[in-house]
């Protein structure tokens, strides 16, 4: 009966109308909340005792966590700047629950209702406790009281329905991202929340000062006081920490902090874990969004970003923030009471493509990539990471200055063959080739085509006489020595050549030069060729006919926040088709984080999963904007499809119309036949 009435209340736009409806149906309902009335001194004392006990239990458990966070190493680069962005993130991510709802609309909305309901209940709960001491400040009969309690009642209904829905999801639907282990504590807490709401709502249906209302009042009180001490050691700790975490998180996406002093090599042991990391670790709500979107976790690798964070939390609980015990299990001596944790392993850390999907999805402000790269730094900077491919890559970067390990003469030859002018300060742009553009056959095609687009637009450009890798793969694999050498070399090269503006075809180069190099100096302004072409899109040839599915590269999208520019270029070259996962939720090609240069993957290849998805759209062409994505899909598309779509970079998509437009007079040559 009650449930039925509640449904009416939800459906009713006018609450008083609903109450009127109840009365007509003969309920003993007053539009005001019933209160127990006078409390005896003994009862008040008992209440005080319960509150003190609950608060004491809470702090007994929360104290050590707070101490762990505060005793962690200070973040050398900690800054509250930019405050505006932080306030906005707090407003959007915490108050509006923007991320929670956006990534999982239905459960997200249910969560938002519970959260907003909690906010609405803050005043109610405070008043509730105060009445126990005869200090109630919100009389239910007053105008404000009457309004506010009815307002809270609406929320109570929404919270009760939402928490029931979330309970059903967790215990009956059971999405695997929540973890395989059933958390009975979560069930109990859901029950407590439900009880809080029901006891509140029920007080509208009973007489003032009666035994029933007194019973309800005490049930509500006890539910609240039992809930409080359960917070610190369950995932519900996020109630307390995540608003702080969201506000304080490091500025910039996937920002790798500088190393501090001569003894800092990255995350080697507990003593290297910083306060921000520690805070983020304890804020994890275990929702599994990071894992759900992780290209490694979803293709059968050991890496599971959620377990990395939880592994770090267990480590801090066990060894503390000042410990010298290695974080990575391979470096630790296993003992019976310290079993190896497979997730916090070197193997897992080096399976990350640094696509940043985890960090992007996280609703509580955890920044996974700096943690994973931090673990890699700890392993690589100390020489603990021994990997044949990794060593080969580092030696190639040390010796040859490019990730492909080829002689610099090969680049010279390519520049000569293409007759690229050398940058001498008179040209507008410095065209950055990158390792792929300078040495890889397919990358060279992209560079050559982009150069033709620039020529078509009449933009002057030159290339550097000598160019070394930006250090991106070394940076992501945690080799600070190689990265620093290459970054300083690059900064000097730009300075010597007096470069003002750079344009590059590789999003990894763009990110590394624009952001990561900042640790060692300021590089000239750099843009990705998609941004350059989009700015001149009115002067690019319009092509029609073919359908093109565009793949968002991680380092262009999530890292650089460029989504629409490459689409504008694609739209000029044909009909744009969207992949099932696109924009911010694009799925990695598997090459990032230096993984393009490492050995065979465990489980299914990330590139195959994505290639299948792209081919599945039925588009005739796969359009890319990153030479690494391109190289990954080259093999993957043929492997997953008998009749694979064509694979072209956005520069090639544009340049092919330039070839086609030249022989326009020959009537036989149609635009569709102009390529390859």
């Amino acid at each position: 009966m009650l449930a039925g009435a509640l449904q009416v209340a939800i459906g009713a736009r006018d609450l008083t109308g609903a109450i009127f409806l109840f009365q007509e149906q003969g309920f003993h309902l007053s539009a005001t909340l019933a209160e127990p009335g006078h409390f005896s001194a003994l009862e008040s004392a008992l209440l005080a005792l319960c509150i003190v006990a609950s608060a004491a239990l809470f702090f007994w458990r929360f104290g050590p966590i707070l101490r762990t966070i505060l005793r962690s190493k200070k973040d050398v680069d900690f800054s509250l700047h930019p405050l505006g962005r932080r306030v906005w993130d707090f407003f959007w991510e915490v108050l509006c629950q923007g991320k929670v709802i956006r990534q999982r609309p239905l459960p997200g909305l249910a969560h938002a209702f519970v959260f907003w309901g909690f906010l609405a209940f803050a005043l109610v709960s405070l008043n509730h406790m105060a009445t126990g001491f005869g200090l109630g400040f919100l009389p239910p009969a007053s105008l404000i009281g009457n309004f506010y309690f009815l307002f809270a009642a609406v929320w109570a209904v929404l919270v009760a329905v939402s928490i029931t829905g979330l309970f059903v999801r967790r215990f009956f639907v059971r999405p695997i991202w929540l973890g395989r282990k059933v958390s009975y504590e979560s069930g109990f807490i859901a029950f407590l929340i439900f009880l809080l709401m029901v006891t509140y709502l029920a007080a509208f249906f009973v007489e003032d000062g009666g035994l029933a209302v007194r019973g309800l009042w005490w049930m509500h009180t006890l539910a609240l006081l039992i809930f409080l001490p359960l917070i610190p050691h369950t995932k519900h700790l996020h109630l307390v920490l995540s608003p702080v975490t969201v506000f304080l998180k490091r500025d910039g996406f996937s920002k790798i902090p500088p190393l501090a002093g001569d003894e800092d090599f990255g995350l080697v042991a507990g003593k290297d874990v910083t306060q921000l990391i520690s805070l983020q670790t304890y804020s994890c709500v275990e929702c599994g969004r990071c894992t759900e979107h992780c290209p490694a976790a979803t293709t059968g690798k050991v890496l599971n970003p959620k377990e990395i964070i939880l592994g770090l939390r267990s480590y801090l609980n066990e060894f503390g923030p000042a410990s010298d015990t290695p974080l990575l299990t391979e470096a630790r001596v296993a003992s019976p009471d310290n079993p190896p944790e497979k997730y916090l392993s070197m193997e897992a850390a080096f399976e990350c493509t640094t696509c940043g999907s985890c960090e992007f999805q996280c609703p509580v402000g955890i920044q996974h990539v700096p943690v994973i790269v931090g673990l890699r730094r700890g392993a690589t900077n100390t020489g603990a990471w021994e990997d044949d491919y990794g060593t080969k890559l580092f030696l190639a970067l040390e010796k040859n200055g490019n990730a492909l390990g080829l002689s610099a003469i090969e680049r010279d030859k390519f520049i000569q063959k293409q007759a690229f002018p050398i940058f001498d300060g008179t040209q507008e742009y410095c065209l950055w080739l990158g390792c792929m553009g300078g040495y890889d056959p397919k990358g060279r095609e992209i560079i050559a085509d982009f150069a033709r687009v620039m020529q078509h637009l009449g933009t002057s450009f030159g290339v550097l006489k000598k160019e070394k890798c930006t250090g991106d793969p070394a940076r992501r694999l945690g080799n600070d020595l190689v990265f620093q050498t290459l970054a300083e070399n690059g900064l000097k090269a730009f300075e010597t050549a007096k470069v003002q503006k750079i344009v590059a075809i590789c999003p990894h180069c763009v990110r590394t030069i624009a952001t990561d190099w900042r640790e060692y100096g300021v590089a000239p302004e750099i843009e990705h060729h998609s941004e350059f072409m989009a700015r001149h899109k009115d002067r690019l040839p319009q092509q029609t006919g073919e359908s093109i599915v565009y793949h968002d590269p991680c380092y262009l999208g999530r890292y650089h926040d460029v989504y629409e520019e490459p689409r504008a270029v694609v739209a000029k070259a044909g009909t744009l088709v969207e992949a099932p996962r696109s924009h911010e939720r694009s799925f990695c090609c598997g090459a990032g984080g230096g993984l393009a240069f490492l050995g065979e993957e465990k489980g299914e290849r990330v590139s195959h999963v994505r290639a299948r998805e792209l081919a599945g759209t039925g588009a005739q062409i796969v359009g890319t904007a990153c030479p690494f994505c391109n190289t990954m899909f080259r093999d993957a598309l043929t492997a997953v499809s008998d009749a694979p779509p064509q694979l072209l970079d956005i520069a090639q998509l544009t340049a092919r119309a330039l070839t086609a437009s030249q022989p326009q007079n020959q009537s036989e040559q149609q635009s569709s036949g102009g390529v390859q």
Binding site: G383, K399, L481
Partner: protein, 254 residues
């Protein structure tokens, strides 16, 4: 075990080499220098021997101008314990014997158990320095070594011979080995290594004045390009037979 590794600094492999104005040496102005590759393998072998035995010392020695200190620092960063820089700005005017002599002078004082060096240098490629050095120190040597194993009081080494053959040799210590490239996997330099290297000793010693060289350098010149085209005629079968013969006996690749 105390191991001395004699290394040489050479121009980077893809460096554009120009001949100096006097035609006696190369123009060093624009070049980048790096460790001679076989020497990098000699260093790796020394480090692995030390790691396997759990004790010992690896000392790196290099002769040359001040710039060789970068290469010595890198060797320290990769794990060598000490470095000795033999100051000599006139390497071009010293022959193999002269260079082996200044190396021997510096190494003698160390009285090591084992001396390792690359089997040849990437620039001159004479392959003599190690052998002459062993003679000057009056210790046994073995060349083109692929594997080294400490056995009893001595060594068991694997030499590379021609045509895929190997020779296994047992020898006593002290000894000198010239190491072939590719026997081990090289390690990468790490940040921690570089930081530790800062506190390691790098000693500078003066080289004795050069004596009269036994071999004088007449002229240095770039390889002259030759283009030789020979047309093979006959039936396809005859042409194929001729090609096989040429590949076997002239080019000697099959």
């Amino acid at each position: 075990m105390k191991i001395v590794v004699a290394i040489k600094q050479v121009p980077e492999r893809d460096a554009p080499v120009h001949i100096a104005a006097d035609g006696k040496w190369i123009d060093e102005g624009d070049l980048n220098y790096t460790i001679n590759e076989p020497d990098a393998y000699a260093l790796e072998e020394a480090l692995q021997l030390k790691e396997k035995n759990g004790a010992g010392e690896v000392v790196v020695v290099c002769a040359g101008p001040e710039r060789v200190q970068t290469t010595l620092r890198e060797a320290l960063a990769k794990g060598a314990d000490r470095a000795i820089h033999i100051e000599a700005d006139d390497l071009g005017s010293r022959d193999t014997l002269g260079i082996a002599q200044i190396l021997a002078d510096a190494i003698k004082a160390e009285s090591p158990d084992l001396i390792l060096t690359g089997l040849q240098s990437d620039d001159l490629g004479l392959g003599q320095t190690g052998v002459v050095l062993a003679e000057l120190l009056d210790i046994p040597h073995a060349t083109i070594i692929m594997q080294v194993e400490v056995a009893g009081g001595g060594l068991k080494v694997k030499r590379e011979l021609e045509d895929g053959w190997f020779q296994h040799v047992e020898m006593s210590l002290p000894a000198l080995l010239t190491i072939q490239s590719g026997g081990n996997k090289l390690r990468y330099a790490t940040l921690m290594g570089i930081k530790k290297a800062k506190t390691k000793e790098l000693k500078t010693v003066a080289a004795a004045a050069p004596g009269a060289p036994a071999i004088a350098l007449e002229r240095v010149y770039l390889p002259e390009r030759q283009k030789k085209t020979e047309m093979l005629t006959g039936s396809p079968a005859e042409v194929a037979a001729k090609i096989v013969e040429k590949l076997k006996f002239e080019v000697r690749v099959i």
